[in-house]
């Protein structure tokens, strides 16, 4: 694989469009950034004078705080906009809101929105860098990057690993980004869930599909659980939560079918006792909180690679008032 030194792109919209060498560069850079968060002074000056706006149209704690800390530890200034406290409630469109933000000379917009493609739409309208922090059920690229980073920390290499993703694949942007990322990096991905929550198109993505965890977990190096996204479910995809738990909950018993050193992952927030048992979530194989720690280093790497480049706007090119 040929090594590259920079991302030749303005935005990070999804994993689908990234090359293997770009993913590797982000993961290698994140490794260097991890050390910054354990220094006595948790800050480096790389993005001094840059402004990052977190524009969140959906509730989030982890991702928003993670992006905010990542930007702040790089010395960027951060503004958080949540839709309930902004002009969005007055009926302003997404593009208008973003263009107004850009008019205040910001360098990056981190966007989370319930509509698929919202980050792509903004990237075409804005000169500022756009980072997709989750667009509907489409992609959540930084989550997949931090998952791959965490896997690599434990397993050295992603190539050749067996990764099992269990749960609501249909509504999961985390699953989509991880499928693209993990298969590009050479892992074998197995999906498990009720047939109603596995979209037919995934079969074109070099993955295997199973309907019972027991059939997929043997030889697993990584078991990744997903939350049942009731807020996105428009109809009844399974008879009852009780039945879902009975078949799909990752219990210690089921985990024992996997390799002894199988990692347990979850993008959070976890619903204990539904997709994962407390015993497994808090167990020795769980790296769920490491994922959260690594999220900061990964997002620092993404912001650094997108923003610490040769300035696109040169001095003196600002339009003169006539």
């Amino acid at each position: 694989m040929k090594k590259i030194t920079g991302l030749k792109r303005k935005d990070l919209l999804g994993i689908e469009e990234l090359g293997k060498e770009e993913i590797s560069l982000i993961l290698d850079t994140a490794k260097s950034f991890k050390e910054v968060s354990v220094r006595p002074i948790k800050k480096v000056p790389a993005l001094r004078g840059k402004t990052v706006v977190n524009l969140f149209y959906e509730p989030s704690t982890r991702t928003r705080i993670s992006f905010e800390l990542a930007a702040k530890r790089l010395s960027a200034d951060v503004i958080n906009i949540s839709t309930s406290a902004s002009s969005v409630v007055k009926g302003e469109s997404l593009v208008d809101t973003a263009k107004n933000i850009q008019a205040m000379a910001v360098d990056a917009v981190v966007i989370r929105h319930s509509a698929e493609g919202s980050a792509h739409l903004l990237s075409k309208e804005l000169k500022a860098s756009v980072v997709n922090a989750g667009d509907g059920s489409h992609e959540h690229p930084t989550q997949a990057l931090l998952d791959m980073f965490t896997i690599r920390e434990h397993k050295k290499n992603i190539e050749g690993l067996n990764v099992v993703i269990i749960g609501d694949i249909l509504h999961s942007r985390v699953a989509r980004s991880n499928i693209w990322g993990l298969t590009k990096m050479g892992a074998k991905v197995k999906l498990v869930g009720p047939p109603t929550l596995i979209p037919p198109f995934v079969k074109s993505l070099k993955v295997e599909v199973f309907y019972r965890p027991e059939d997929a977990l043997s030889d697993a190096d990584v078991a990744m659980c997903l939350r049942i996204q009731r807020e996105r479910q428009t109809s009844n995809f399974f008879p009852s939560i009780h039945e879902y738990v009975k078949v799909f909950n990752l219990t210690m018993e089921r985990l024992k079918l996997a390799r002894k050193d199988c990692l347990v992952m979850h993008p959070g927030p976890i619903n204990r006792g539904i997709e994962i048992s407390s015993e497994v979530a808090d167990g020795t194989q769980s790296v769920i909180l490491e994922q959260v720690t690594n999220g900061i280093a990964t997002r620092m790497a993404v912001l650094y690679l997108l923003l610490a480049q040769k300035s696109k706007v040169e001095w003196g090119t600002r339009r003169r008032r006539v």
Binding site: G6, V44, P45, K310
Partner: protein, 179 residues
């Protein structure tokens, strides 16, 4: 014009040991070696620092901590250079407060790398002092910075290139001046 050999393998070794003797002597005069730490700037400064630590530990029967600094995130030209530099990790696993720090680099030129390095060091504590050791001083400073220990002063023209090659990265030890 051909490349000019400034130091061969033997003289690189001699120069490093002379630097070490001077570091030991001056720091013993200023107290002891107990609070001394050596920190090298990636890439070749880090290899030099490693050799200096080994030498001083052997010569003075001490155990000097070694740190490695990657100054990329502290550069003053991140948004002006066209090729984005790769960020590598800084490895300083000890507090620098009240330590005597010897910063090590291969070539002292504009002084901008050293400015970045000092800013980064201060984020790891408040050292008692920071000293600078370099293998080659080639002049052309753009900042008011000077070295405490210099292996060899080499007068150069700005367009010339000094290449320090070390066994760890380049297969052999030598310093050449390229026109």
């Amino acid at each position: 014009m051909k490349d000019k050999l400034i130091l061969d393998k033997k003289n690189v070794g001699k120069t490093i040991s002379a630097l070490c003797d001077e570091i030991i002597k001056r720091n013993q005069e200023r107290g002891s070696l107990n609070d001394l730490v050596i920190i090298g700037i990636r890439t070749r400064g880090a290899h030099l620092a490693e050799r200096i630590v080994q030498f001083i530990n052997r010569r003075a029967e001490v155990e000097i901590p070694l740190g490695i600094l990657d100054i990329t995130l502290y550069r003053d030209d991140l948004t002006t250079i066209s090729a984005q530099p790769i960020v590598r990790s800084t490895e300083i696993s000890f507090d620098l407060t009240d330590k005597k720090v010897v910063l090590v680099d291969d070539v002292l030129y504009t002084g901008r790398t050293i400015r970045s390095a000092m800013d980064e060091l201060i984020d790891f504590g408040r050292p008692k002092n920071i000293q600078l050791a370099v293998l080659i001083d080639r002049g052309h400073r753009e900042l008011p910075i000077q070295a405490d220990y210099v292996g060899k002063i080499v007068p150069t023209k700005k367009k010339e290139i000094i290449e320090v090659r070390l066994a760890e990265t380049d297969g052999k030890d030598e310093v050449v001046l390229k026109p």
